[in-house]
Symmetry: C2
Subunit: 397 residues, 2 copies
């Protein structure tokens, strides 16, 4: 049995690469950028009018002129026009090119318009005001979005602006999620007294969707030869296999021996943690195998603690560790790393994590009422209110 730290290190030292694909930019949210996105022109690409109003040659204002004859209108989306007479002005619209021979924009609020003449009504005018100068935001060729950025709505506008209608991103892994256990029936079925419905595979599907990974699911009966032949084909067809159940000591927990017979190299089996101790991790040359214990919380926490960072490192993005302040004392005796469900609250900028206890609801709904796991180290049994620990969120994100 190895420690959580050692297990995570082994997982992170065995990442894969799934390659790169080019997809429509509007489908790229949540994906990891695999190219540098550069400015394709200066931004703004021209001296851009930043307020609706009039454009003048500031030199005339400085000389004392206040009334300017309107010579025309420069609309957004029109070719740049020229102010021929420096004593005149142009009406200009936000987003338009600043007319030739002008350099300063006075907004409509500070101008009186009458009989084709614009009279400036304030004195506080600064040369160049309300003009968003060409290339102020960036020059053609500037790096706008770094490679390995996780794309979000904040990047979508930049991609559109520079014309990246297609964008290179990390391919997602091909994932098969397998449940085992003859006690399991389908969600739409009525279980017999000794049966329960399949649920962990669907939890895993949802946890992977959060990472924008789509996955397949299968159920295999507790029959060693069937398990072996199906898993053999899955190992060839997928980058990742996630299992829920059949990795412990039961008579029908065939998975570890099936993996061995199929040439899956065992990297570890059993981690000094609660929940989720009998976790199996191994791989072939092309496929990584995560054997999660069948308890719902075990499957959930192992997916977050091991699969998530494995995937994130595989596609190339770093995740910052998040910490929180423990909201009440916790006592935990065994020499195991302890992942405990907590509710999170933001109290004046501090994240406070409070264990949910005393409702007797057990495992079934305990994830429903909580937001994260807090991770307690294996060498402490008295965890004190106010101490800082790592958290792993599954909600409010």
């Amino acid at each position: 049995m190895i420690s959580v730290e050692k297990a995570l290190q082994i997982v992170l030292n065995s990442t894969q690469r799934f390659g790169v694909e080019e997809i429509p930019f509007l489908k790229s949210v949540g994906r990891v950028l695999k190219e540098e996105v550069l400015a394709d022109r200066d931004f703004p690409p021209f001296n851009r009018v930043a307020m609706d109003g009039i454009a003048i040659d500031f030199f005339q204002f400085k000389k004392g002129q206040r009334a300017f004859t309107i010579a025309g209108i420069q609309a957004a989306g029109s070719v740049q026009i020229t102010l021929q007479n420096p004593l005149g002005c142009m009406e200009v619209m936000t987003g338009a090119v600043l007319p030739n021979n002008t350099n300063t924009v006075i907004r409509y609020e500070d101008v009186m318009l009458e009989n084709g003449i614009a009279t400036i009504t304030i004195e506080a005018i600064v040369e160049g005001q309300n003009v968003h100068a060409r290339s102020k935001d960036g020059r053609c060729g500037d790096l706008l979005i770094h490679k390995n950025t996780v794309l979000s709505a904040a990047e979508i506008g930049v991609l559109a602006t520079v014309g990246k209608s297609f964008v290179k991103v990390a391919k997602q892994p091909k994932v098969m999620i397998v449940s085992t256990g003859d006690e399991l029936v389908g969600v739409a079925e009525i279980p017999l007294e000794h049966q329960i419905r399949r649920s962990n595979v669907f939890t895993l599907v949802s946890l992977l969707e959060r990472l924008h990974i789509s996955s397949k699911t299968a159920h295999i009966t507790d029959d060693k030869s069937i398990l072996k032949s199906k898993i053999k084909s899955y190992l060839k067809a997928y980058d990742v296999l996630l299992f829920s159940g059949a990795v412990s000591k039961g008579k029908y927990d065939f998975l570890p021996e099936v993996f061995e017979e199929l040439g899956v190299e065992k990297l570890f089996h059993k981690v000094a943690q609660r929940p989720g101790k009998p976790f199996f991790y191994g791989q072939t040359n092309t496929c990584s195998v995560f054997g999660f214990p069948g308890n719902p919380i075990s499957t959930f926490v192992n997916c977050l603690v091991y699969f998530y960072p494995w995937y994130q490192k595989s596609v190339g993005f770093e995740v910052e560790e998040e910490t929180a302040v423990l909201g009440e004392d916790v006592h935990f005796r065994p020499n195991l790393t302890y992942f405990l469900q907590v509710k999170l609250e933001n109290k004046k900028g501090r994240i406070v994590a409070s264990p949910i206890s005393g409702n007797g609801s057990g495992d079934l709904a305990s994830l429903v009422n909580t937001d994260a796991f807090i991770q307690f180290p294996d060498d402490k049994s008295e965890l004190k209110k106010g101490e800082i620990f790592k958290i792993i969120r599954y909600r409010k994100f």
Copy 2:
């Protein structure tokens, strides 16, 4: 011009209801539950074996017996069997029904198996151990997931367990996102000198996808009669219209007058904030109209600050306010609420928000390098490091 607080209050007092629909449970992540989810049976539904090992009648152990003849195997998914001879034991697998006439499970690690006899090798056995008692996690009829819960992977397993293959959720609004502005060309086009590419509508599409809302987009030329006829039909066909641009004082900013002519009741136009001051908000009996200013950051912040809470209240979930510690002094003179892009860092459980400054990158890429807006109140101009302010995240969530 009204304050941000007043504007938000008006927005939140004019929410809509979009109705309820029943959808496959696996598609329900991110949606708002519109029914109570109850336990359909006791959980566990039977006295459930919690460890692989042997099941005995504890009374025999107490009397001093240590070697038990194995009478059979109770596998997970099998009908409950009965231990006929109280001096014997049953091998039992995790997830199985506890055999009749047994009450205690000893894990394989603490048993020696030889010639069909299991000998218990430790003395610390407690009656009822390693049995997950029927109904310990919940009784048939217990409330497991509250109405108005935002469903996540944590709920998916519970929905599956209780057989909710379909689930009632709030319907999403039908949304049309409209750009205006003759300077705009398509993302895949090469703009002329005085043109730029459409980007805000795509940012809005992505911001709405974060809420699991799919939307349509359209571009309308700066022609009042065309605007009027198209918007007239959109007002009938959609629950929400989002506009980017054409709400300010420009000669071609037709939207406010078109809205008035089409019977859109103006609830406010202009909010005392930076950025995004010329924000228009109005509605008809069936449609809410958000007219965001055309600047990319203005559109982005207004969508997060007004549309998000409007939608969230409409479908029935409460959002907790999040706060952070300001990482450095900020000076801001105008009497406006100020939304400033910040990078977030988790420092020992505290969320520290640091404004990005001094890189001169302007608007174009400023959202790319930041995680949230911090909201400074309109009555303070000196914001001090260490003070707590509201934040609105758009990343790391």
